[in-house]
Symmetry: C2
Subunit: 394 residues, 2 copies
Amino acid sequence: MKKNLIFAQSGGPTSVINASCYGIISEAKKHGIKIFAAKYGVEGILKDNIIDVTNMSDDELNTLRYSPSAAFGSCRYKLKDEDFDRICEIFDKYQIGYFLYIGGNDSMDTAHRFSQYVINKGKDISVIGIPKTIDNDLTNTHFCPGYGSAAKFIATSVREMALDADVYDKEAVTIVEVMGRDSGFLAAASALARDEVVDAPHLIYLPEVPFDEESFVSEVKRVFDKKSRAFIVTSEGIKDKFGNYAYLREAKVDVFGNTQMGGVGRYLEHLVKQNITKRVKVIEFSILQRCAAHTASLVDNQVAVKVGKAGVEKILNGVSDVMISIEKTQNGFEPGTVPLSKVANYTKPFPKEWIDMENRWVTKDAIEYMLPLIQGNVDIPYENGLPKYIRFIK
Amino acid sequence: MKKNLIFAQSGGPTSVINASCYGIISEAKKHGIKIFAAKYGVEGILKDNIIDVTNMSDDELNTLRYSPSAAFGSCRYKLKDEDFDRICEIFDKYQIGYFLYIGGNDSMDTAHRFSQYVINKGKDISVIGIPKTIDNDLTNTHFCPGYGSAAKFIATSVREMALDADVYDKEAVTIVEVMGRDSGFLAAASALARDEVVDAPHLIYLPEVPFDEESFVSEVKRVFDKKSRAFIVTSEGIKDKFGNYAYLREAKVDVFGNTQMGGVGRYLEHLVKQNITKRVKVIEFSILQRCAAHTASLVDNQVAVKVGKAGVEKILNGVSDVMISIEKTQNGFEPGTVPLSKVANYTKPFPKEWIDMENRWVTKDAIEYMLPLIQGNVDIPYENGLPKYIRFIK
């Protein structure tokens, strides 16, 4: 009897996580097996909240490929050892022998632990991880699907906002806060906005470099004195030299007496207002940077499809306990494999050698790394002037 | 001797204000006159900060058409009567007889007053206003170029964020703050996001309807109790029944003792946290909604070109003291004219009869009005994976 396949999505969504589902479903269809999707990640497996997607139409599949968010739902639940029996029980019920888990390093840890469990128990279940994260912080892969599209959105929007910020003949400081708790890849992507027309951003603050208030003020002053303006991009994760989130010092108390934690953008705004100018604007991309699928990177979308397809090919060939990695070749990006144990729980920082400390900028090597990841525009279905999306949760 | 033409941009930029400049320049070129652009609006005229754009290349013109922000700079300066002599002096220097001013209702007032001045002084100068504003609050025109693209960005992003907001099987309230001090057209555009897949937004708050805390809490509760979530869009300009901005009550004091004014999004967040759930996310589009040219509306861009061209045709035919208006015809949108006195300083609110008070929603008529304005995608030049833009200020 043929074994069936299940996949699940985990963690924060990206603009192309559904492209990996498209890759999985369209590849698995060729092999004539039943394909299941867990709703809301592994929580859906535990709760037997599972749907059969074997007969998804080509139309639905194409819309799925270009839809943002996780079309089957996601979770932030980290599987406990005592959950593994329950997972196996559900897998027995649906005759599942293949499990693909799409996620970041936490999910790769979950996948690895479950994989070890089924080996120990002698269960006939294979497990493969499919990489996904806008943070680009998974190790042993050239990049992570999701990052290319987030980088493209950030670079595009920073370029557009930089033009807007210069529109009046007046002094102005603009601060843009992007995601990235521990890794500066997202903030660094804003460097791509600069060209012969747009000189912004002027300063980029990464979590890999300890943040110092005095240096910050003098760096902004240097730019501001020359240009009467400054355009700053900061990672939400900048920390002081003790490793504390820099903005934690900026606790705020509202009129109701509640302590409010300001974001890092508001913290830097305060420093600029106190020391340089009152004309400061703060913009937070918030979830836009991970869901603006209308401007996703074509390369990113294509690679997300590839890792999904490769996951199915490998798992049906008996490979298990690995994550599909991405290797850069002369012809583009090709999938490879890396043991889950090598990616589980590790975080890849933005490389130190790519940081131009003096100018709060990134090196040419960094630009050459990021540029191929944002190439091409997706041709998404439109209806009534808006992108047409799909999902399989209410 | 032939008279020359000058144009200037004013007020907050839009994604298509440069498309009107493209229209002006390409039309004026056909008539063999010299074309000047003032840098930073009328301030550029007063300061003799003017450039000759007669020989702009087709390549530059095409890039200009799709660039966000005001490529020649803008200003918020309202001309005083004592400035008019100086303007005429500069116009004499450049032999200018035609003045096109691109802006909103403040700028139309400036244009009208200057027009009256030159008539009184017997000067051979014609003045025409070209409409522009994302707020869509100019009277006597079917819509304002800039609004269509802002509406398309808002509807697209709200649809994408609504999918993202539902990704976990957990309760969640999302609050999106959009621009619009006095007019709810921008907030209303979020209604376009709803389709058979996305049920958000659930509630839309417009400045035309007095805001009441108790009603707000009970309305959000009603949605939340049913769905375990709520997606709310609010105009930045909501006011209480006395006409005060609702969020003014929410003054905040930071640890340095400074009073900080929270935005309306933060104010509503507070109400939700106090009364419904702590799981609230606030997103402010900020300037993104007026500069996201990569997702501009094709119809909006085309109409912006048309009003620029029509301005040149009319002014060369001796028409003065009017604004180019937009009329809806069976074939689309065609330019007309309206006396400047009829638009100067007036504000068009979102029509009361288009508001569904009970459901905090908009009527079918409102949807039918907005939908044609967001149709079609612009084919902008890309380079290295990013939109290629242009500007003529540093």
